[in-house]
Symmetry: C2
Subunit: 339 residues, 2 copies
């Protein structure tokens, strides 16, 4: 316990005095700018350590007009759960030397657009990453200064990462089922306000066409189990559908339930796939075939794009598989007599 009231933190000036140099030299030392004689560097370093000096980042921000802070926007409500993505995004930001300010915005993509503008305008952050859709009305785009990256959003910016990667796996899913005889498919999509939902839907349709299969169509859902259950309920008895690609595991759980309620066996009469690898899905009966997504990497990649954009550089995106199909019991060969 020190005896004085508040033990004011030492400043660059005090370090300079102790080291016997000018404050500017200390400043250079702190920015590790080079151009310091070895002996000087050591003296300053010793002074810094002796005083326990730590730079005042706010004062620095004030002078440099850079905050070293990026904002991440989270959807406030709803089933979309960005946890792992957030962790990945934060890790990437930290690795790049940025702090992350997180905001969560209730309401739809319009509300988020408002917040994006507000943030861009505040001068508090150097870039903005939104993990949910953002729609800008008319010309009210954010001022040119602050880059914005939207993940799972309307913007096309993520197309190179999320959508295509997503897509290829939907294609694999369909192809894998086709390989065991399935010909007629149904897709229950997620909320189409999400790029991920749109991407999966489009890829589904493209793949079915490309492989010469039949689509019984797409039911536009909302990521809920109920939407999956309803989709199966409203299927005609003679629809001929033998495989359902659900938007995620929760929807798939609803599809399975709906099928069982109609007396259809899964996978004996109907194969069902999910998405997300919800740990509980492995314990459904039948255990759910699903897609394990490296959400952390998804967030990391998005953040890397943002950082690159802030710095005016090219993003260095990671490679390797982002999604991995986990085949389990809810999928199987097509039934002998197609229903």
């Amino acid at each position: 316990m020190s005896t004085s009231g508040t033990p004011r933190r030492p400043t660059i000036m005090e370090v300079a005095r102790l080291a016997g140099v000018s404050h500017q030299t200390v400043s250079r030392y702190l920015r590790s700018e080079g151009g310091l004689k070895e002996s000087t560097r050591e003296r300053v370093g010793a002074a810094v350590r002796e005083l326990g000096y730590r730079p005042n980042l706010i004062a620095r921000s004030m002078r440099t007009r850079r905050t070293g802070r990026l904002a991440v926007l989270l959807p406030g409500l709803g089933s979309f759960s960005p946890d792992r993505m957030l962790v990945g995004a934060i890790a990437a930001a930290r690795a790049a030397g940025f702090a992350v300010e997180v905001q969560s915005v209730d309401g739809g993509s319009g509300a988020r657009a408002e917040r994006v503008l507000e943030l861009a305008d505040s001068g508090q952050v150097e870039g903005i990453l939104s993990l949910a859709p953002v729609v800008h009305e008319g010309d009210r785009m954010p001022a040119g200064e602050v880059p914005v990256v939207v993940c799972a959003g309307y913007d096309d910016q993520m197309r190179g990462i999320g959508e295509l990667a997503d897509g290829s796996v939907v294609a694999d899913l369909v192809a894998g089922l086709a390989a065991v005889g399935h010909r007629r498919f149904l897709h229950v999509s997620g909320s189409l306000r999400f790029a991920s939902a749109r991407g999966r839907k489009e890829t589904f349709l493209r793949t079915v066409e490309r492989l010469g299969l039949e689509s019984h169509g797409v039911v536009d859902g909302d990521w809920s189990a109920e939407s999956g259950r309803d989709a199966v309920r409203s299927l005609a008895e003679d629809s001929g559908v033998t495989a359902v690609i659900a938007a995620n595991d929760v929807v798939a759980a609803g599809v399975v339930r709906g099928a069982l309620e109609r007396g259809w066996g899964v996978p004996d009469d109907l194969s069902v796939t999910g998405w997300d690898n919800n740990p509980v899905g492995a314990y459904l009966s039948p255990a759910l075939t699903t897609v394990d997504v490296d959400r952390e990497r998804l967030g990391r990649d998005a953040m890397e794009r943002l950082v690159a954009s802030v710095r005016g550089a090219e993003p260095a995106l990671s490679d390797g598989p982002l999604n991995r199909i986990v085949w389990r019991e809810s999928t199987g060969p097509v039934p002998p007599r197609s229903r």
Copy 2:
């Protein structure tokens, strides 16, 4: 598009000039400090609007030595998923006028303790909320200046909120099962580094004792399905256990699986309860009895404690039920012949 390069933002000085007052008067206006003549207030307001002036919060921070920012620490890895809590915490912080900086820390509680110290020391945040355990080695507690609240942590600070509330529901769960005849219970806990896991365990033991029931003991798990499955596997044939309280839904799914594998019916031979209300749990067979937790409120309450602590006030915590038992198919009356 303006013709100049960067359209520097207007400062308080320019507002003052336009309004024909001193910069100090503008400053007073901005802080809505009162003591301004109505006519003056209007003139300044008009100038602010005309210039589109927005205060430079960094400059303000520099002078006031307050950042208006709180930090939230997230566990980097592991099954613990703080998403809804984070959303709640952020909402509460925003309502109180604070921005939130989120950090995620890989590694154990020791690593988090390091980060807490680093943050407390940085002068960048006025308070720290950790959503995962933090253990301080020896005397290296954070400097007195910056309040720290640990949610789901070793600290006793949350006891009034999380643990007791949790506890009461475990008691209800056990009592509910006892009411339909169960006498001998097993608890599969979560990782005991989490206060929530410890709280549920303690309450389980206390309740069993209080109601004059029998505990077959507690298996210390790690929130994983495997730990639940193992717990059931290693149960003696004649253990007499008819009800298992699992730490969460994933563990419960493992317990159910383990029971079915041994040929025990759920709930005919064994009742199983989970925790978290994982949406997929409703579609397990049997559908999982679980506890629906208002995680958002959990986060909000924790943040409210932090804000109160920063301001030296008493926290205004919300009331109403935090947890709600959802009875489903995985629980039922005790089997006629107790195994």
